[in-house]
Symmetry: C2
Subunit: 407 residues, 2 copies
């Protein structure tokens, strides 16, 4: 039997690809600290569970296709606090940020079209695009430059007649980079001058550290008809399993296109929407605490990383990821080695190789993404293990090279 | 700003298109009996809610991408009672039957490919296919023949080199038709001889009346590597708002292709999966009761319809829909008239025009789909209203024609 070409060419999730090695390590009794996945350990606000538990209808009916009005209102009010003013018909509820991205790509691109995205990028951008027979054209950014954007000329040189949109996550996954106001303005200008959509993945909006100013694409009035804001409760409220995302866009024509897709899949889970309404009532003090917690974790991990010779990365200022260039040739081999060969007091750590976050062949082979989603104590231990492992691995590789040259 | 062609050409949901007229009628104080949507009023088994309420983790984490093992086991065991034997890795949990269909179409078709489907068909088959730039080629079936399949020759004549699959719902939505063993065998032979996938939408499997034998495509061994079974808890357990569906397929190559899509959207809502495990423990007595209830409802609606001159339909034997040919030229106009002009004791009824369930231009214009999802008393009243409205409308139209010919 034949499968479609569109899926055959799709890569396996780089985040999940090495999981079997972790399972093996655990079966040998080794404790594995996971820095490979973005599953936070922060408590989900209790209001979510209370609302779900208080549901007292006897029939679990379909919700309406665009999303329940209570949740749409809540999201509208939430945006108001960021000085973004949508009306209810400009917001659609989706099955997580994932569906929001897939639907938006389908609505702005036909097969053969392409989308620009700064690389390294969230690996599923590729997956969603491939489903839709759309290509992601990378704008390469570098660890040495803290993954900030290249010049306007360089970005312009990537645009062709089939380019329909620029897709960016800000703060960045996997980079943790928060774009400056100047960068946001540059992208806005490029989009305007070249009639492109801006797909702004802002699910990490609250995770910005060091007192940095955050600018949303939703704050720039002159491009408001071309900006689609992708959002999700997953990280903001530590509610990854709820699968509640949203699309906000002032271009009502686009919203009515996407609404057809929403109608096609009927609705998003009713109970999860009811729970999510309560998430949006979470007091801002929650974000302050969570923010402070993540900043501390970032510092723990970053400080430890900086102690290793040859590690290159700028201190990230957002989200909860660090992409670091390691003094190794092949980060995937290093991660496999960490899981198969390395242990200290029967413990090891699992980073995520970063190559899968790049679209350009060969880039990122010596890089890893580290999610700082463990509590401070565990994270400190994980960082020490990473440092130890890395030093041991580098020494081992050097001795192999020496042995090779002597042979 | 430009939108994609793929969505621009997608029709609005025919089921939801006339909803504004119903809202207007209600705002004038008219009670509207809804026969237009498939939202059952049967109680969701309590186990679902109990399981959700008993969830006691403090973090709502991602579930695993293929679906939680407990739910996959439960579905595997469920299939065993129908003499279908899958192993756990041959089942994937999806966001409702909708996602199961979309993912399957994406996995077997590239842009430009087509899928055969007996028409009238579930309108979203078209939507899901258009997302994937795939065409649905209809195999026309007729009210006069109870929407049973045409000859093998006629079906073969629809196949071309880009045909990748046959997609059927059995029992049928919107037709309520249950295919005979001979029809199932014919489709199996056609698929085998022409190397096609069979996408079997069997979400109404339990809704078969009059002691009829039901054959699943999963029961025919010689085609087991080419059958994909789409399933859902929505109708079976009256849990439409849970959005839990599944794909079962013995072709593990196909499953691993679709798993990439599952990984792309990370997971299906965690709590809903936990609840759904309990649904699968529902005793079979539940189905017997529900089945009996729907059979009674079908009889109420069908018997009343048959009293109207010129209505054509065979008594359906499955699901909870009837497609009836009415003695009107344009069923959509009739439905709008029922909502705008007709009322009896301040009550009216809303059928769903069936034209949107056909791919062939012009077919189904004089047909409606009726969902018998109201309790017997309400349904009886709705059927009476439909009969009265129809008779009045037919008389009115006749007098208009007469007036026109006299003028």
């Amino acid at each position: 039997m034949k499968y479609s070409k569109r899926l055959s060419s799709m890569q396996e999730s780089p985040i999940r690809k090495l999981v079997p090695y972790a399972i093996d390590a655990k079966s040998r009794g080794t404790k594995v600290y996971h820095l490979n996945i973005g599953q936070p350990d922060i408590k989900t606000p209790k209001g979510f569970f209370d609302a779900v538990k208080n549901f007292d209808s006897e029939v679990l009916e379909y919700a309406v296709s665009p999303g329940i009005p209570e949740l749409i209102h809540a999201i509208r009010d939430y945006y108001t606090t960021y000085d973004m003013h949508f009306n209810d018909s400009q917001i659609l509820i989706t099955n997580g940020g994932s569906e929001a991205l897939l639907f938006t790509i389908m609505a702005v691109c036909d097969p053969g079209d392409n989308i620009l995205a700064p690389e390294p990028f969230y690996t599923n951008y590729n997956g969603f695009s491939q489903c839709a027979n759309v290509t992601v054209k990378p704008i390469t950014t570098k660890a040495e430059e803290g993954f900030h954007l290249p010049s306007k000329e360089e970005i312009l040189s990537r645009i062709d007649p089939n380019t329909k949109a620029i897709l960016l996550s800000n703060p960045g996954n996997p980079t943790g980079t928060v774009y400056t106001r100047a960068e946001i303005d540059m992208i806005a200008q490029i989009a305007k001058e070249n009639d492109l959509w801006i797909i702004a993945d802002e699910v990490y909006r609250e995770f910005v550290y060091d007192g940095l100013e955050y600018t949303s694409f939703g704050n720039i009035e002159e491009i408001e008809d071309r900006v689609v804001i992708i959002d999700s409760v997953s990280k903001r409220y530590s509610a990854c399993g709820a699968r509640i995302g949203s699309i906000a866009c002032k271009n009502t024509g686009l919203i009515s296109q996407i609404l057809k897709l929403c109608q096609g899949r009927l609705c998003v889970a009713t109970l999860e929407q009811i729970g999510a309404v309560e998430l949006y009532k979470t007091p801002t003090s929650y974000f302050k605490e969570v923010n402070n917690e993540y900043r501390k974790r970032r510092d723990v991990l970053y400080d430890e990383l900086m102690k290793v010779d040859g590690v290159i990365c700028k201190k990230p200022t957002g989200a909860f990821y660090i992409v670091a260039k390691l003094p190794v040739e092949n980060a995937e081999e290093f991660v496999v080695w960490m899981l198969n060969e390395f242990s200290d007091e029967n413990e090891t750590v699992m980073p995520c190789p970063a190559e899968g976050f790049y679209a350009t062949e060969g880039l990122g082979r010596d890089e890893v993404r580290l999610a700082y989603i463990l509590n401070e104590k565990d994270l400190h231990r994980a960082a020490i293990l990473l440092k130890e492992g890395l030093e041991k691995y580098v020494t081992l590789k050097k001795s192999e090279v020496l042995a090779g040259s002597e042979a």
